[in-house]
């Protein structure tokens, strides 16, 4: 009996040891080389001009396979210890923080968001799932530089909305019934950040991203800016070192499990990675799941990144920020950048990374 148990434990520990996890440092694996690596570097790191700001301007590229660093390179001002602005990757990070609260049993996906954020009283039928799908139905305008007068996101971050971004969002009229139509909205993401305040309670809220997510993953230098109400700017303002963002990717690649702890419930991750049914082909550069972007065929259109496996998913941000996860290849890729001209292509980078690491 005891002998059987001993053998069982030995077997378990061998399985655990066979899986690489970062401790304080990441384990390092065999570095790729050859012409495929040259092709990757030629794409990601062309000569950089900080005056014209033209072309592809990668700040950091980190490739992790099976929990080990295969490749990393930094450029411009960015170093291994720079907490780089993630822009809209923050949205996927907030979803991950919410996933921990979901695992605590503190809310359900079909809960009306107004239950946790009373300022939504004008829109009582928007559910948590609708916000996670960017399907609130609120009449939001997500343009950055090109339409500054009409841009809801510019007004939210810098002018009329910056003191209380969730209230600014909740004040929008609706253009569609909640849950029916996709419209990418930084406002929806900040409403999620506001609901979290009630979900976990105001005393836990200011430290919750750290206690719930960053510390269990060994992330020590995360920054997450708030508005004047103390609500996290979930749409835009989380900062992580490249190797720390990769920890989030590894957590997602392994179905919400960190070591032996199931930090995110499996059904939460499954929700994140399920395409939103109301999405119409080519509405955005990839297919929305629950605050994550999926490389899945949708509404008759093929996968948005044809050279990457269909299980590829990503957190994406303005000016070329990206966290790509390819579970079938055991790959996590962090790409920070400062692309100002929109020339960067996810598919091209993924194709060249896959070419460089495939045996």
């Amino acid at each position: 009996m005891f002998k059987g148990l001993f053998l069982f434990l030995l077997l378990i520990s061998c399985t655990v040891q066979a899986e690489s996890w970062p401790g304080e440092q990441w384990p390092v694996g065999p570095k790729p080389s050859g012409t495929a690596l040259d092709a990757l570097e030629a794409y990601a790191f062309p000569p950089r001009d900080d005056n014209t700001r033209q072309g592809i301007r990668t700040d950091a590229l980190l490739v992790i396979r099976d929990g080990q660093i295969l490749y990393e390179r930094y450029a411009g001002p960015t170093r291994v210890d720079t907490p780089h602005l993630t822009w809209s990757i923050s949205k996927s990070l907030m979803a991950t923080v919410l996933g921990v609260a979901y695992g605590e049993g503190l809310f359900k996906l079909d809960d009306p968001a107004v239950k946790f954020y009373p300022a939504l009283e004008k829109h009582p039928t928007i559910t948590m799932a609708d916000l996670l799908h960017w399907a609130s139905g609120l009449d939001w305008q997500e343009d950055y530089e090109y339409a500054p007068l009409k841009s809801s996101v510019v007004a939210m971050l810098y002018t009329r909305g910056h003191r209380d971004m969730a209230a600014f969002t909740a004040d929008h009229d609706r253009y569609a019934a909640p849950g029916q139509a996709f419209r990418y909205s930084s406002g929806d993401s900040n409403l999620l950040a506001a609901t979290l305040k009630t979900i976990v309670g105001p005393s836990r809220y200011p430290d919750y991203p750290w206690t719930a997510l960053f510390e269990p993953l060994g992330i020590h230098s995360a920054v997450w800016e708030t508005d004047a109400k103390g609500t996290f700017v979930a749409s835009s303002y989380a900062y992580l070192r490249p190797r720390d963002l990769a920890r989030i990717g590894l957590l997602m690649a392994r179905d919400g499990r960190w070591g032996e702890r199931q930090l995110l419930p499996r059904d939460w991750v499954a929700f994140n990675l399920q395409p939103f049914a109301g999405y119409k082909a080519h509405q955005d550069e990839a297919v929305p799941g629950g605050q994550w972007w999926l490389n899945r065929p949708a509404d008759g259109a093929p996968s948005p990144w044809p050279d990457a496996p269909p299980d590829t998913f990503a957190a994406l941000g303005h000016w070329g920020q990206a966290l790509y996860v390819i579970p079938s290849e055991k790959l996590v890729i962090v790409r920070y950048g400062d692309d100002r001209d929109g020339g960067y292509r996810h598919n091209e980078l993924l194709k060249r990374v896959l070419g460089a690491v495939r045996p």
Binding site: P77, L85, P148, V154, T159, H162, W210, E225, T226, Y239
Partner: protein, 101 residues
Amino acid sequence: MKLFKRILLVLLLVLLGWIWHEREALWAFPDIISAYTAKEYCSCRYVMNNDADYCRGYVKQWLPTSGFTDDAVSKTVTVSGMGRSNSAGWTGEHQGCRLQP
């Protein structure tokens, strides 16, 4: 000529109507450049810890700014442009920079 004047009057009324309709957005518009520059410079400098010269280039946009002060002791950045002035300040290790007030 009479018709021309009438068309001009209608156009003027449409313009005034549009200005009234968009008054909030129009009033807020001149704040964008100084608020953007102050906030993103503050974060570039004090959250990402990049050097000052790099951050000045990083926040540059097509609209010009005039005044620029960066108080390294209080970590407060104040920028003027289009007749408005905005400040952003560093508030702590976890919460980075924020527009003031």
